[in-house]
């Protein structure tokens, strides 16, 4: 099975890199040459291969990642919006050779490796998640295989050929969810029961995975909902000891890490000399009321409630519609048509994520940042399995939606890969 998934992955990536290779070298945004001139030493030289392939992978936010990978530190406050975990990880793997193209090639290799690891983790996570559900064993394996293939054919498309931080978050998110799944079980009423002998898996492994996933991509803060829901479930049944040592402990650790990362670290770096957002200090504490991340997102990228709802952004909403619809329907599907008690936290995470993306963020980013949530992949895979067993019936409802989504992917993935290589929107 792993071989088949690896084969699909390899074939798909080759296809994408061929598209990048064949894309015209004249990019819409011509600033990549300036970036390379500024960051790369004169010894690097320019070759045909660099121009045809490597340089094209430096579009959009890749600029911030490569800058941090080369310099090893932030220079300006708005750069804090981009993960420092991912550049540090790449630098670690560069083993002291910080030549520009060596860093770029290492990062691209790691990006693909992490994507592949996340595909395998998703396969295992699917098997584990649906272990106690109504699927028969062969259907469970089928669901895992289809989910893995669908995650290879991700809507994030071109971004995963470059040096973006999302695949690292996918790995950490899936690993964290998997660790939690292994350390709990659900009774017949759907209540969570924690296994004491697996405490380290829950309170250490899953917590550390979620923390690093959050440090890498802030939207992974939503993974904390797993702990909130587990806590409520345990408290309802007065399982105080389990509630304290499992979700409460993990939740507090995650919360403290969020405060450290988004409040304390920037405060220490910039305040009080920065003025502005530093002035809203909480009494004697080295924190401000406003999250630093929210401040920079709002100031530098105009992120905020309904700020993106303008006429010129209509095309970006259109680009986002397929994933919005499929994610929303997946949450409805696993709530009503195929209710699974162990999917409740993920359903809530998906819904809150959609609200945040639709009303607060640059909506088109849903195509790549949704990659830390597996719910919609399970929805697609499950409908594909169910449809394959009812071949004679015409497509209706969910199945039509799934078919349209797959057709969208077939066209979107190559087109978006080319747009990315040509430094064209959507970003």
């Amino acid at each position: 099975m792993c071989g088949e998934i690896a084969g699909t992955f390899f074939f798909f990536k080759i296809f994408q890199y061929v598209l990048v290779w064949l894309a015209p070298t004249t990019q819409f945004d011509t600033s990549t040459a300036l970036l390379i001139h500024q960051l790369s030493s004169s010894l690097d030289g320019q070759s045909w291969v660099k121009k045809r392939l490597w340089d094209k992978l430096l579009s959009w936010d890749a600029v911030y990642f490569i800058k941090n990978m080369v310099n090893g530190e932030y220079e300006f406050e708005h750069e804090y919006a981009f993960s420092s975990v991912w550049p540090k990880f790449v630098r670690l793997c560069c083993r002291g050779n910080f030549e520009f193209y060596h860093i770029l090639k290492t990062a691209v290799f790691l990006e693909n490796l992490l994507h592949f690891i996340s595909v395998i983790l998703l396969y295992i996570l699917t098997l584990k998640t649906f272990e106690k559900n109504i699927l028969k064993t062969h259907q469970r394996y089928e669901l895992a295989r289809k989910s893995a293939v669908l995650f290879i054919l991700t809507g994030a498309a071109g971004f995963f050929t470059g040096i973006y931080s999302e695949p690292l978050s996918s790995v950490l998110s899936f690993a964290g969810i998997l660790a939690r799944e292994y350390s709990i079980f659900h009774d017949v009423y759907g209540n969570v029961i924690c296994k004491w002998q697996r405490w380290p898996l829950y309170s250490l492994v899953s917590t550390i995975c979620f923390m690093v996933a959050f440090a890498n991509r802030s939207n992974c803060i939503l993974l904390g909902i797993f702990y909130i829901m587990d806590l409520l479930s345990l408290l309802r049944r007065r399982k105080i000891a389990q509630a304290t040592f499992f979700p409460l402990l993990s939740g507090i650790a995650l919360l403290l890490f969020v405060i450290f990362q988004h409040y304390y670290v920037p405060y220490k770096a910039f305040c009080p000399q920065r003025g502005g957002w530093c002035k809203d200090k909480i009494r004697m504490l080295p924190f401000t009321y406003k999250s630093f991340y929210s401040y920079i997102q709002s100031s530098y990228w105009n992120v905020g409630f309904l700020k993106y709802w303008t006429i010129n952004n209509v095309p970006n909403f259109i680009f986002a519609i397929p994933n919005i619809v499929i994610m929303w329907y997946s949450s409805v599907y696993f709530s009503h048509q195929y209710p699974c008690s162990n999917l409740k936290p993920l359903i809530l995470i998906t819904r809150i994520f959609l609200v945040v993306i639709v009303f607060f963020a640059h909506i088109q980013i849903i195509n790549r940042v949704s990659s830390f949530i597996p719910l919609h992949l399970w929805y697609l895979a499950d409908r594909l399995i169910k449809k394959s067993t009812k071949k004679t019936k015409p497509l209706r409802g969910d199945d039509t939606l799934v078919k349209l989504y797959i057709y969208w992917l077939i066209y979107w993935i190559p087109v978006q890969t080319i747009l990315f290589a040509c430094f064209l929107p959507p970003a």
Binding site: L19, L22, A23, P24, T26, F28, D29, T30, S31, T32, A33, L34, L35, H37, Q38, L39, W60, V63, Y64, K67, F76, E77, H78, K146, V149, L150, F270, R274, G276, Y300, N312, P315, L384, K387, S388, K403, I406, Y407, I410, Y411, P414, V415, I418, L419, C422, L424, P425, A427
Partner: protein, 184 residues
Amino acid sequence: MNILGIILFAYYASLACANTESFIIHIPSEFPLASNEVPEVTHPTISLKGINHQTKTFSVPVDSTYYIELKDVSVGENYQIKICWTALNPVFIDETGYKIVPHMTKFQDTVDEHNARIFIYFDVIGESYPPLKAVDIPINVSVVNMKLGIPVDLYGTLVYISLVVIGIYFASRRYRVYEKLKNN
């Protein structure tokens, strides 16, 4: 393909792309062609002599207005002016536009006695904390002739995307990815 191109370009033109600002200028048909006199070089220039698009890198002072003279443009044509800078240098571009200066007219203490001149201009404003230390930053300015409402440098990309889409259409009819995903 033209319709696809126009739609795409309308989308890109309406977007404030992260590190690209663009605007379109029209060279009026009554704009006088260059005289035989050798034009004076008073400002940074971009020439389109014998070509239909050109990109040049300029070292532009931060927090100032920068002027570039366009040379050898054709009358009655539209040109896309594209200003690109790298996100390594946190600035934003403001107050973009163009100015036609008739001959014998003083502009920024310069006069061309024989030729009318076209200048494009833009403001480069530093936007960061801590403030950008660099006095000058490199900026790419492109002047691209537009045909059928599309900048000519986008044609290659549009043709490539169109060919890939057509290829996928035929490949998906033959290999039926949805059916394969469903049944395999």
